[in-house]
Symmetry: C2
Subunit: 328 residues, 2 copies
């Protein structure tokens, strides 16, 4: 910028005025400055700008489990849309459910002075350490609650969704219903597991612990678990799969075993409608979760000082076939 000023024969401040489109610059002066800018290929340094302005970096941080998981990438898209409208960029990072990695990301993002943080909190770490790092930066939690009751949070109705799924299977006559869920540390997994148990209890069906497989975190793990379940002496006639990855794993195992096992999955999955037996799911809108969280954050960044928001997003059962298969 100094060079531009020299080239245009004006002061630093005048260049600054032109670059920022402030008024009170004579058109011909402005023209000369713009020429110099073009000639020198000058680009304003946003770091210096933000530093001096004491202002915003016009960026937000997004910490999710895995950018490549469609559930999270849809969230990311919703977040981006809102951030864009607010003139902000999104710096996203995958925590891979590793608390150390999460803390590292939070620290990096805060040190970069992002205007705010959107976090799907990993749940195996120490919540206080996280809270300490975040201190001062507006933050909204998605998909899972933070420990902090004062934090804005956007969740899905996990309990209700899971109950609906299992109710549906019970209504179709199933009594031996398996349950595949993620790591027990993860809030959504616990909620969905609980929803499963509650639905059974509400129908007076005795839960069989042998039919529950927790701690399945990927497609392969879910596949193995499902294969084992199907090999039981008294196998389940139906299964509730606790998320998109587990649904895929369960479907593969059922396909390989060649059984007519009913299935309802939590999260919608691409092509679910085109499978040999189209997949019944508990659907919801991840992009909407991202949008709502980002909007909440936007408000906080702008200085909103209302009470903590806690949004619960609805789910809906989409019956496509796999959930309507009758028992054996």
């Amino acid at each position: 910028m100094r060079d531009v000023a020299a080239a245009a024969g004006v002061s630093l401040k005048t260049v600054s005025r032109v670059v920022n489109g402030e008024s009170f610059v004579r058109p011909d002066t402005a023209e000369r400055v713009r020429d110099a800018i073009a000639r020198l290929g000058f680009q304003r340094n946003d770091l210096a700008r933000t530093l001096r302005g004491g202002g915003r970096t016009r960026s937000i941080g997004l910490i999710i489990e895995d950018v490549a998981n469609p559930f999270y990438s849809q969230i990311a898209r919703g977040v981006e849309d809102v951030a864009r409208a607010g003139g902000r960029l999104v710096i996203s990072g995958s925590s891979d459910e590793d608390p150390a990695r999460e803390l590292l990301l939070i620290r990096s993002l805060c040190e970069r002075r992002v205007d705010g943080l959107l976090i799907v909190p990993s749940q195996t770490g120490d919540p206080r350490r996280r809270a300490e790092l975040i201190a001062g930066t507006p933050a909204v939690f998605l998909d899972r609650p933070a420990d902090d009751p004062a934090a804005d949070t956007v969740l899905i109705d996990n309990l209700g969704g899971a109950r609906t799924a299992v109710d549906h299977l019970l209504a179709h006559g199933h009594r031996r219903i398996a349950c595949l869920v993620d790591l027990p540390e993860i809030f959504t997994a616990r909620q969905r597991h609980q929803g499963y148990l509650e639905a059974l209890a509400a129908h007076g069906v005795q839960a069989d612990p042998a039919l529950v497989r927790t701690g399945r975190h990927d497609v392969r793990g879910a596949g193995h678990a499902m294969t084992e379940l199907l090999a039981l002496p008294d196998p389940p006639t139906a299964v509730f799969a606790g998320n998109n990855l587990l649904t895929v794993g369960a479907l593969r195992a059922i396909g390989a075993a060649g059984t007519r096992t009913a299935l309802v999955g939590f999260d919608d999955v691409e092509l679910a409608d085109l499978l040999a037996t189209p997949v019944t799911v508990i659907a919801h809108e991840p992009a909407d979760m991202g949008r709502q969280a980002a909007e909440l954050l936007e408000g906080r960044i702008r200085g909103d000082t209302g009470p903590p928001a806690r949004i619960l997003l609805p789910t809906r059962l989409v019956a496509r076939g796999s959930g309507e298969i009758p028992p054996g």
Copy 2:
């Protein structure tokens, strides 16, 4: 930092030393400083640090078409893995194939002084404007070439993949093979279309223009096109779908029409193996493309000054069923 220095009764520079883990600080002094840091909740300001150091922001920009499209989100994951290893964060943005949006993103990212740029270039804008903005920032192009022959580029073997797909259908006896491709401005779409034509020509099959539908950019558009094709007086017995979204659209239309139309799709899609008729695809590794591009960029950032790299990633045909359906 000033406050920390005051609280600890030391100079600014000493605090800086402790924060940055430099040596030559007496343990008890360091301890006092660390106490003050913890008490005051101090966090180093990375903007100031980078500004003064004249150094890197330890971030890279990633511009793709849509974060939520699995093809791109897998790329993003590959990029992130390499960036992480290099201690960098990824700022990603969706251009939505809009050149204005792309330029805006490039400008924002350069003004923020990202260390480098990874770009899937939209192809409807002016390449010179893009080049001007990028000037000075290392950049690598993915999936599509930039106009610039001096630019590092990582591409998939679109031509070869498309030819393989159509060869496969021809080998199974098809002669009326439809072709669904994206907007003709897009490099990959043109290449895949050309591969289709070349395969037909190589087998001495006369191409029927009525069977080619270009300019399909989403699932719905592909669905409509496919429905029209199937309604022709002399419909195709097979179709080559030019990308993941078009494959999904075509599958939906074929499913709705209830025909036994053969299909080979470019890009692999989740659950393709579990469809009523499992989907034969031209598969490749998007994450690997992201990784390779990020590694190239990492090299440039570190000062690599070799000749421009141009990497062509292989594809492979995964025969699962839909590509092996014989003609009607």
